[in-house]
């Protein structure tokens, strides 16, 4: 029993690294990303696994290849207006829409896409 639990935990840990837990369930960042009162990413971005996406922003796919530097992706979610003053992307960190922890969780999730 104990051994099985341990292996389950190991599977969960491994799954987290791969973007899902042992049962293939979503990372907490996915709920935050899709929640209309939180990230609400689908309003503007097509993300695999999300319904009825908008298209103001680019599709969020191949994220590891596009953003090898995690800091860059985190900074975009925190406040993209710093890099591109004309962007319409809300400054999620600067305007306290998401906490730093929530942004990190969403970035974890995005790296599975």
């Amino acid at each position: 029993m104990r051994l099985r639990l341990k292996s389950a935990q190991a599977a969960i840990l491994a799954g987290l690294l791969l973007g899902a837990d042992a049962q293939g369930q979503a990372l907490p960042g996915q709920a935050l990303a899709f929640d209309r009162s939180k990230g609400n990413c689908l309003t503007c971005h097509d993300i695999k696994g999300g319904d009825a996406p908008g298209n103001l922003g680019p599709q969020l796919a191949d994220m590891k290849a596009r953003f090898p530097d995690r800091k860059e992706l985190t900074a975009i979610v925190f406040d993209e207006t710093k890099r591109n003053p004309q962007t319409v992307m809300p400054p999620f960190g600067r305007n306290l829409i998401l906490t730093d922890g929530e942004i990190e969780a969403i970035v974890d999730f995005l790296y599975t896409r």
């Binding site: 309003t43 009825a52 908008g54 298209n55 004309q86 319409v88 809300p90 400054p91 829409i97």
Partner: protein
């Protein structure tokens, strides 16, 4: 201020749209509505070369063929019909003092929508149709209506309907107060606000035709022409006031009071930008 011209040139640069003659920032502090008007119209017509100029008044339907089909399918029984009928009846019904709405307006209020808002040189402020209607009521000893829906939307629906096809004819008198009102409206339109950090222009200048979720964003050019509108999302009619208040809320900003002077200035600016385009209201939107 040449806010639009400045923003448009940046947007255009980003979108890599080749608009010839992007304006140099000369005399940046002068208020020049005519130059703004030309830059504004050029921006939209060059970005959407296949949209006939007069079709911009149909908002999202001018941007999206699929949405247009759905709209045409319901247009035999438009959802705003009841509002036109009600407004017509209200116009025909005298106030307690025997006067009517028609007595407050030129041509009995028929076919005049395209002249609103106007700048009133006596009071030194922008007068919208909604404001004029409530002032008419109050002058005649009646309580003012809510500005956002119901009776007000019925009255403006009827007045728009009798004006359909007439080109917007908004004038900015050569008076510093009128130019200041225009400028304040323009500034409000391009200023970001709310927790989500959106300006009106973020959606309606930078992203017309794009989708937020499944919704198609309307172009700012002609956006006033269809007011008031029946919105399925509202499950009812809404006025220009309602549209401004809900836009502010959607970006998690603090809305002004309906018919606040600044909102009227915004409507003045936007209506001037739509000069020459036909009244299409009342409209129906998803």
């Amino acid at each position: 201020m040449k806010i639009f011209r400045a923003i448009a040139s940046v947007v255009v640069t980003i979108a890599a749209l080749a608009i010839a003659g992007a304006r140099p920032a000369t005399a940046a502090d002068s208020i020049d509505p005519d130059a703004d008007f030309k830059a504004f119209r050029d921006y939209f017509t060059k970005r959407f070369p296949n949209v006939p100029l007069n079709d911009f008044v149909n908002g999202p339907y001018s941007m999206d063929a699929e949405l247009r089909k759905q709209w045409e399918a319901i247009d035999d029984f438009p959802p705003y019909d009841f509002a036109i009928d009600r407004g017509k009846q209200m116009f025909a019904t005298p106030f307690k003092n025997g006067k009517t709405y028609g007595d407050c307006f030129p041509d009995n209020g028929v076919g005049i929508r395209q002249n609103y808002p106007y700048f009133d040189l006596q009071s030194g402020e922008v007068i919208t149709l909604e404001l004029a209607l409530n002032r008419c009521r109050e002058t005649n000893g009646e309580e003012p209506y809510s500005y956002v829906k119901d009776e007000m939307a019925s009255l403006t629906a009827y007045m728009a309907f009798t004006s359909r096809g007439k080109p917007f004819d908004i004038k900015i008198p050569n008076d510093p107060r009128a130019l200041a009102a225009y400028q304040k409206g323009e500034e409000y339109f391009y200023t970001r606000r709310g927790q989500l950090n959106f300006s009106c222009a973020s959606c309606h200048v930078q992203n017309p035709g794009n989708h937020i979720r499944t919704e198609v964003l309307a172009p700012a050019l002609g956006i006033v022409a269809a007011m008031p509108i029946y919105r399925s999302e509202w499950n009812g009619m809404g006025t220009m006031s309602r549209r401004l208040v809900t836009c502010n809320r959607q970006v998690r900003g603090v809305p002004l009071k309906p018919q606040d002077e600044l909102y009227r200035d915004v409507e003045y600016y936007l209506s001037y930008m739509s000069n020459g385009l036909p009244v299409s209201g009342p409209g129906a939107r998803p």
